[in-house]
Symmetry: C2
Subunit: 80 residues, 2 copies
Amino acid sequence: MKAIIHINLKPGVLDPQGRTIARSLTHLGFDGVTAARQGKTIELDLKGEDKDAAETQVKDMCEKLLANTVIENYRIEIVE
Amino acid sequence: MKAIIHINLKPGVLDPQGRTIARSLTHLGFDGVTAARQGKTIELDLKGEDKDAAETQVKDMCEKLLANTVIENYRIEIVE
């Protein structure tokens, strides 16, 4: 089974990487970009076949290690 | 309009971040994780309403700046 975790900065948290991307794109001549935000994804291969148990465990992983819940939101997607 | 770009390492490219995540999860007691890979997402706010034109432009941005196409794959998703 696979789990995909989408981690993004919470609204209002300063995103210097996103600002740099937006500015660089404008400098390259892409005028249409008004804002950019960068996030990350973590894809996990998991043993077992129980989707609900997997989701509970991945949520625990996010809270303990993968996401910084003070400044980041996360969303879990279980596939297969 | 919004574009979300999903960027991942190509298969076979060494992913030290992913390996560190998998090892750390195992050390924390999560035995079910067999592999982990880390990717990134870039979310862009775009002017204009033409979806096809936006996709063409975002593809150009990926080739020129956002993705390192030697080692990374990207996927573009246009929303709204």
